[in-house]
């Protein structure tokens, strides 16, 4: 009769429902602390998230004791998680700066895992082959100097294409992102005007007044371009490919127009080996070499050289070893370019150097 009676009935029902759900949950194989299992949590970049998620799943089959989870929240979150140790490992597309490294609670190592590419994509009706661009053209489009699709410079890059006289709409990333960082890193290398008008490379991009629309995330830019005619922008390779958007070949440092493929992206890393420092923090945009795709980059996993927990550290190190060796085939299936073999050797050296309490974790 009274409300409290009803509340009691309801709560009883709810609790029993919950118990049902929970018992269901507990009966599932994964999760919880099934004796001896080591749990690891990783946080970081969205770009490599598909392959990292595949790796942790596959590695769980190789080593059932390991329960690794990776959550993508962006490179910045990965760096912060590594600095504050709120996760067991972080992931970032761009290497950390010296100041960032100083804020970490110990020595942080950069372990490169795969390579990726930032591509120029667009939405233009009536074009059969993908348009190609030289760095100067890209510069002029983003700075607003080229405003129509049938501009002479675009024609020069694409002599056979029929270009309509429509206005170009630029789409850029409004949020801070590793993709922007790679793109601006490339643009500052190839265009002094960019450095002056837009600024040094960074996670944020500020185009001159009135140019472009900001979209959030790779998916926002992709969605914008896909749904709005006459747009052009830069996104991560996989987004363009998975959404059927055209991918523009870019003129690299040797003058050839190169499409981003597994080979050309790996070539970009390989050609820059001489310039790669020991800590492996390097930018490979505008790489030398004929076959190199000019807007490529590494992506890194960040771990402490000295691991607090020996059990966790061992699983982490073994996992990373497996990922950069046996895991390569999965990466290629998912359109991530593998590391050049020399880099893999350097990764091995680094992994061997990781210790816990003074003792190296890999024998």
């Amino acid at each position: 009769m009274s409300v409290s009676n009803k509340v009691f009935q309801f709560t009883a029902l709810l609790l029993s429902f919950l118990l049902l759900v929970l018992s269901f949950a507990c009966s599932k194989p994964t999760g919880g602390n099934s004796g001896g299992a080591v749990k690891l949590q990783g946080v970081g970049a969205t770009f490599p998230a598909p392959i990292y998620k595949k790796w942790v799943d596959e590695y769980g089959k190789v080593n059932p004791n390991a329960q690794i989870d990776y959550q993508s929240q962006g490179s910045g979150a990965g760096v912060k998680a590594a600095q504050n140790q709120t996760a067991d490992f972080g992931a970032s597309d761009a290497p950390m700066s010296d100041e960032d490294l100083k804020q970490a609670k110990g020595e942080l190592l950069h372990i490169p895992t795969v390579l990726g590419a930032v591509v120029i994509t667009y939405n233009l009706a009536g074009v059969s082959k993908p348009l190609q661009f030289s760095p100067e053209t890209i510069n002029d489009i983003f700075l607003g100097k080229i405003q129509k699709w049938d501009d002479a410079k675009i024609k020069a890059d694409n002599p056979d294409a029929t270009l309509p006289a429509n206005d170009i709409s630029v789409v850029f990333r409004s949020d801070g992102s590793g993709t922007t960082e790679v793109f601006t890193d490339y643009m500052t290398k190839v265009s002094p005007e960019w450095k002056e008008k837009v600024g040094p490379k960074g996670k944020n991009i500020k185009l001159p007044e009135g140019i472009g629309i900001g979209a959030k995330g790779n998916e926002g830019v992709t969605g914008q371009i896909k749904n709005t005619p006459n747009t052009i922008g830069y996104v991560e390779f996989i987004y363009a490919k998975q959404n059927g958007l055209p991918i523009a070949p870019i003129k690299n440092s040797t003058g050839k127009f190169i499409e981003p493929t597994l080979e050309t992206v790996s070539a970009a890393a390989a050609e820059m080996l001489a310039d790669t420092p020991e800590d492996l923090r390097v930018s490979i945009t505008n790489s030398k070499g004929e076959k190199a795709y000019p807007i490529s980059s590494y992506t890194y996993i960040l771990i402490y050289k000295d691991q607090k927990d020996a059990a966790k550290g061992k699983v982490l190190v073994d996992f990373l070893w497996w990922a950069t060796h046996d895991g390569v085939k999965f990466a290629q299936e998912k359109d991530y370019a593998p590391l050049p073999s020399e880099i893999v050797k350097k990764v091995e050296t680094k992994l061997n150097a990781i210790t816990s309490g003074g003792k190296p974790l890999r024998q």
Binding site: Q9, T30, G31, K53, K54
Partner: protein, 253 residues
């Protein structure tokens, strides 16, 4: 009318998502893209955190609402009311940052506790204000009747006024729960997410909204479909809860 618009949005989601719903989807954990997988752990995680949030947020919110309605006609009450109104407008991301600094950093990791607390913080102002408005609508004759018969103030409020306002308070509670069910940003910073089933409150926990967010911003169309499907599941769960609460607090004529 506006109802038509409502149906347009709902049907868009339904059409996009319905094909992906099956038993496995509802009970399995997330798998690498292209290998199926589901939102089972996310459903459980969301339920747990929302319950946590309600357990903390509802009592505080209702109590605050009662205070504002019964004792809140002075300058202090006006001040609190103003603050509470402002709190309803905080971007949830600020709540997330706040709880991150307060709970996640000291704890050294993300946890379901932190997630639940963040959601509670969002709930409290909404529940408080709607409770206050609904209690104010209870006619004074009820209060006077009870008082005249000798009941103490607190009994009048808990035994007479609250039950009378119960349907309205339930509306406020459901609005708060619905709002919180759709929140992503605070959970991202606090509970993180997980691909495992997990009921430990001091570990990262998956939730429907974070999972939907992750699927929606990925490049793969198959994941987009799962995002729509998960949204459908979320809305169904809320609908069911709504119906249940409405049924229990209905006025009998």
């Amino acid at each position: 009318m506006a109802v038509a618009l409502l149906l347009i949005i709902l049907s868009y989601i339904a059409v996009r998502g319905i094909t992906s719903i099956n038993y496995e989807f509802l009970t399995d954990t997330p798998k690498p893209v292209g290998e199926g997988g589901g939102i089972g752990n996310a459903i459980v995680g969301s339920l747990i955190m929302i319950l946590l949030a309600s357990a903390v947020g509802m009592p505080i919110g209702i109590a605050a609402g009662v205070y504002l309605a019964e004792f809140g006609d002075n300058w202090f009450g006006k001040f609190i009311r103003f603050i509470t109104d402002t709190l309803t407008g905080i971007p949830s991301i600020i709540v997330g940052i706040f709880v991150f600094t307060l709970i996640v950093l000291p704890m050294g990791r993300a946890s379901a506790w932190a997630g639940g607390m963040a959601l509670a913080l969002i709930m409290i102002p909404i529940v408080a204000r709607t409770t206050e408005e609904m209690i104010r609508l209870v006619p004074n004759s009820l209060r006077e009747g009870a008082l005249a018969l000798g009941a103490p103030q607190w009994r009048v409020t808990t035994g007479v006024v609250l039950p009378a306002a119960a349907p309205g308070i339930a509306t406020g509670a459901m609005l708060a729960v619905a709002r919180v069910c759709g929140e992503t940003a605070p959970l991202l910073f606090t509970a993180l997410g997980s691909r495992f089933y997990n009921i430990e409150l001091d570990q990262p926990m998956a939730s429907l909204t974070v999972q939907i967010y992750n699927y929606a911003i990925g490049p793969y169309d198959v994941e987009h479909k799962m995002a729509w499907a998960a949204t459908l599941v979320l809305m169904t769960l809320i609908l069911l809860t709504n119906i249940a609460v409405r049924y229990l607090t209905r006025k009998k004529y």
